[in-house]
């Protein structure tokens, strides 16, 4: 009897978890759509993200060189495993490839 009861509870639990998972999938779609609306809105109404000022507020910019890369959705960024160059110096690489529009790169905080 105990095992049969246990079986019934487990079936009920799994049913509840299935509902929970469906609800999460639905909520995720809502939020993704909402983010897309904000981004479309920002492009349509030209509310560009006033980023540079914000970034310069970040403690990051004081010590480091910052490159901002703005590219169309779907642009591919590829980073190969760093390797040793001829002179024994490490080489680090970034390849950017867009198929739907030009890529813009901004050197933010270097003369």
């Amino acid at each position: 009897k105990e095992v049969v009861d246990r079986l019934r509870y487990l079936e009920a639990e799994i049913e509840d978890l299935e509902l929970k998972e469906k609800e999460l999938d639905q909520q995720k779609l809502w939020v993704q759509q909402s983010i897309k609306n904000v981004m479309d809105d920002s492009i349509n109404h030209q509310y560009p993200f006033n980023l540079i000022v914000g970034i310069l507020e970040l403690e990051l910019s004081s010590r480091e060189t910052l490159l901002a890369i703005q590219a169309p959705c779907g642009t591919q960024l590829e980073v190969p495993i760093p390797e040793l160059g001829q002179n024994g110096q490490k080489k680090y690489q970034i390849n950017l490839k867009s198929s739907s529009g030009p890529i813009h790169v901004l050197l933010i905080n270097k003369e």
Partner: protein, 34 residues
Amino acid sequence: ACLTPRSALLYKFSGSPSKSLKDINNMIKQGEHR
């Protein structure tokens, strides 16, 4: 040219999760220490 294909990590704008960038940053860090 190296015999084994050089592997690389990929990221797609507005398509990949932030975790992909964390993996790339970790790979660069490991490459730096190696």
